[in-house]
C-alpha cells in the first residue's frame, strides 16, 4: 500500500537572499513495509527530503501525498497532528528529552496522544523488553551511551505504531559495531512488525543493507 508519494517536489532555500535549490523535481513513492535508504553526498538534499516527507517542512512547489492526502498545503497545526499520529522520528543526535528517564521518554509521545498512564507504562515496558533495553528504564539520557540512547529513540519512534519511521543518519554518531546492532534492530522491526523505515545516510553499512536505495545528487534522484 502506498504511504507516501511525491510529485515534482521542489525546495528552494533562501540563503541570505541567494536561492539554493535543495530539491529538484523529486518523484518518489514509499509503500508499506519499505526499508528505504536515501543516500547521497553531503548537501545533496537528504535531510531536506526527509523533512518534507516527515511533515516538518513545506515544499516550495510540488505535492506530497501522505496516505493519498496532499499535505503540501496543510497548516502547521495539521502537520503537527500528522506527525503525532502517523510518524516516528529518529535523529542523528538521539535527541531524547534530557530531563526524562528512558521510560519517560518513551511514554512521552504516548502521553501526547492521550494514552492512559497505566497503558503507557505497559506498552513502554513491552517495547523496551523487545529492544532489550529494559534495564535502562530509569536512566536519564546523560547516563546512557550513544547506542543505548539511540535504542531508546527507536523505541520512542515506534511505540505509537506509526505508519512510517524516518531516521536522518541514525548511525552517524555511533561506532560501526553499535551502528550495526542498531540496524539489526530496525531490520528486525521491519520484518516482524512490518514497520516502514526511511533512512538517510552516507554510511556504507546502512546503504549495503538497504532493501531499496534512492540516490540523491544535487537535489535530484539519480
Amino acid at each position: 500500500m502506498e504511504i507516501i508519494r511525491t510529485e515534482k517536489l521542489e525546495k528552494i532555500y533562501q540563503d541570505n537572499g541567494v536561492p539554493v535549490k535543495a530539491l529538484d523535481d523529486v518523484d518518489l513513492t514509499i509503500n508499506t513495509g519499505d526499508y528505504v535508504v536515501i543516500a547521497g553526498p553531503s548537501g545533496s538534499g537528504k535531510t531536506t527530503l526527509l523533512n518534507l516527507i516527515g511533515a516538518l517542512d513545506k515544499p516550495t512547489s510540488g505535492k506530497i501525498f501522505f496516505e493519498s492526502e496532499d499535505i503540501s498545503k496543510k497548516t502547521k497545526k495539521e502537520l503537527s497532528e500528522i506527525r503525532l499520529n502517523k510518524l516516528g522520528f529518529i535523529f542523528q543526535a538521539y535527541n531524547l528529552i534530557p530531563v526524562l528517564t528512558a521510560i519517560e521518554n518513551i511514554e512521552f509521545s504516548m502521553m501526547l496522544l492521550g494514552v492512559p498512564e497505566k497503558e503507557r507504562t505497559e506498552r513502554a515496558l513491552a517495547i523496551m523488553d523487545e529492544l532489550e533495553i529494559k534495564e535502562l528504564a530509569d536512566k536519564r539520557p546523560n547516563e546512557m551511551s550513544g547506542g543505548q540512547q539511540q535504542r531508546v529513540a527507536v523505541a520512542r519512534a515506534i511505540v505509537n505504531n506509526p505508519t512510517i519511521v524516518l531516521a536522518d543518519e541514525p548511525t552517524a554518531n555511533l561506532d560501526s559495531k553499535t551502528g550495526s546492532n542498531l540496524l539489526d534492530l530496525m531490520e528486525q522491526m521491519n520484518k516482524e512488525k512490518n514497520i516502514t523505515f526511511v533512512f538517510s545516510s552516507h554510511d556504507k553499512q546502512v546503504i549495503e543493507r538497504a532493501k531499496r536505495l534512492i540516490i540523491l545528487k544535487d537535489g535530484r534522484i539519480e
Binding site: T47, N51, G54, L56, D57, K76, K77, S80, E81, R83, L84, N85, L87, F89, F91, A93, N95, I97, P98, V99, L100, E104, E107, F108, S109, M111, L112, R156
Partner: protein
C-alpha cells in the same frame, strides 16, 4: 507529565533558577514589607491623633468645630450626657471646656488651644496621662497646667514655673488665670505639643466666666471601625443643634491619605512587578534559547504548540509560587518580629514627628493588601514567561532541530 518536565527543567540550571527564585522572593518581601510598614505608619498616625485628643467621636454645639467661640457651649449638657451614655458601643466620655487663648511666661507668649478637663474623665479617652515626660498628671487641684515640651521650650518654663493663660469671655472682656506647670508632655506630633494645654475644667470655666458650661464631649467607642453607625445613633438621640463628628470627619486629610495609600500599593506592585517581569523574560528567554534543539524535537514528535507554551509558562509559574511562599514565610517572620519590637527610626524622628507618627514604627499587616501581593506575584511571573514561550512556539521545527 508536563508538570514533571517543567519541574525538572527548573532543576536543570540550578544557579539560574535560584537567581530567578531569589528575585521573586526579594520582590515579595519588598512588597509586603513596604506595605506593612506604610500601613503601620498610617495606622500610627491615626492612632496617635485619635488617642491624644481627637477621640473617636466629638459632640459640640453646631458650628463649634469650625469656629470655637465662647458663646457656643453645649446647651443642657447634663441631659445630653445621659443620652449619650445610653447609646450602645460607647465606652467612655470626657467633657471638655475648649477655648482659644494665649499663654504667657515671663519671657514669651504663644497662641494655644485651652483644654479644660476633668482629669479622671480625660484619662479614659486620651493617652495624654501616659505621655508625660516630666512632672505629674493633673491631680484635680486647681491652677495646675500641663503643656507640651515644645511649648515649654518656647515659653522657657519648666516644672513649678508660673504661666498666665488668657481668653475672651462671652461679653468680649478678657479673662485670665495664673497656673503652675505640673506636667510636661511629649507626643509624636510637634504641632500638638506646641499648641495644646490642659487645665482643670473648673479653672477654665472661671477664666471664661461660664459657670458650669462645657463645649465638647469626647467619646471613645468599643471599636473605632464602627464610628459611623454610632454617629447615626447619636444624631437621632441628640437635639438638632448639636454636631456629631467622627475622627474621619475631623481628620479628613489623614483619611484621604490612607485611601490614597491603597492606590500607592498598586503602583508599587506594578513597579516591582515590572522589574520582575523583565527579570523573568530575560532568564526564561535564555533558557528557551538553550533548548531550541529540544523544542524542535518536541515539535517533531508532534507536541502541540499549546502544550509547549504551557510547559514554559508552568516553569515560570512554579518558580512564582515557590518564590511567593518562601517570600511570604520570610515576611511573616520579619513581620512577627517587627510587629512587637517595632522599627526604630529615631534617626529620622524629627521629620516623622512633624507627620505625627513617632520614632518607632510597628508594621501592620493588611490582609487585603497581602492577598493582592500574594496573588499578583505568581501572575507576574506567568506574564514574564509569555514572551519567551511565544518565542519558543514560533520556532520552525526544521530550524530548531538543526540548531546546535
Amino acid at each position: 507529565m508536563i508538570l514533571k518536565i517543567a519541574w525538572r527543567n527548573i532543576g536543570r540550571n540550578k544557579r539560574r533558577s535560584i537567581i530567578v527564585l531569589g528575585s521573586v522572593v526579594a520582590g515579595v518581601i519588598a512588597l509586603i514589607f513596604m506595605d506593612t510598614f506604610m500601613n503601620g505608619m498610617m495606622y500610627q498616625m491615626l492612632f496617635n491623633r485619635v488617642s491624644t485628643n481627637i477621640s473617636h467621636i466629638q459632640i459640640h454645639k453646631k458650628g463649634f468645630h469650625n469656629n470655637k467661640v465662647v458663646k457656643d457651649f453645649i446647651p443642657g449638657y447634663q441631659s445630653a450626657e445621659s443620652k449619650i451614655k445610653t447609646v450602645k458601643g460607647i465606652n467612655s466620655v470626657s467633657k471638655r471646656v475648649i477655648a482659644f487663648g494665649l499663654i504667657s511666661s515671663a519671657t514669651s507668649s504663644s497662641g494655644v488651644y485651652i483644654y479644660g478637663v476633668n482629669p479622671e474623665e480625660e484619662k479614659s479617652v486620651s493617652i495624654i496621662d501616659e505621655s508625660l515626660k516630666d512632672g505629674e498628671y493633673l491631680s484635680g487641684g486647681s491652677r495646675e497646667i500641663m503643656l507640651g515640651q515644645k511649648l515649654a521650650d518656647k515659653l522657657n518654663v519648666s516644672l513649678g514655673d508660673k504661666v498666665v493663660a488668657m481668653s475672651n469671655q462671652i461679653d468680649g472682656s478678657i479673662g485670665s488665670e495664673v497656673f503652675r506647670v505640673v506636667g510636661i508632655f511629649k507626643t509624636s506630633s510637634s504641632e500638638f505639643e506646641r499648641t495644646y494645654i490642659y487645665i482643670p475644667a473648673a479653672d477654665a470655666q472661671r477664666m471664661l466666666n461660664v459657670n458650669d458650661k462645657i463645649y465638647e464631649f469626647a467619646v471613645i467607642t468599643d471599636n473605632y471601625e464602627n464610628v459611623d453607625q454610632i454617629k447615626e445613633r447619636l444624631i437621632t438621640e441628640l437635639p438638632a443643634d448639636f454636631e456629631v463628628l467622627t475622627y474621619k470627619d475631623l481628620l479628613p486629610t489623614l483619611i484621604i491619605q490612607m485611601d490614597y495609600y491603597k492606590e500607592t500599593v498598586l503602583i508599587v506592585i506594578m513597579i516591582v512587578g515590572l522589574a520582575l517581569i523583565f527579570g523573568i523574560i530575560n532568564t526564561m528567554l535564555m533558557s528557551v534559547f538553550e533548548r531550541i534543539n529540544e523544542f524542535g524535537v518536541l515539535m517533531a514528535i508532534g507536541m502541540k504548540n499549546r502544550k509547549i507554551f504551557g510547559m514554559i509558562v508552568t516553569e515560570a509559574f512554579i518558580i512564582g509560587i515557590i518564590g511567593t511562599i518562601v517570600g511570604l514565610v520570610i515576611s511573616m517572620v520579619i513581620q512577627w518580629r517587627l510587629a512587637s519590637v517595632g522599627l526604630d527610626l529615631s534617626m529620622f524622628s524629627e521629620s516623622l514627628n512633624s507627620f505625627g507618627v513617632g520614632a518607632v514604627i510597628y508594621p501592620r499587616l493588611d490582609i487585603e493588601n497581602l492577598l493582592l501581593s500574594v496573588i499578583s506575584i505568581p501572575v507576574i511571573t506567568v506574564i514574564g514567561a509569555l514572551y519567551p514561550a511565544y518565542k519558543a512556539v514560533k520556532l520552525e521545527p526544521v530550524y530548531a532541530i538543526r540548531y546546535v
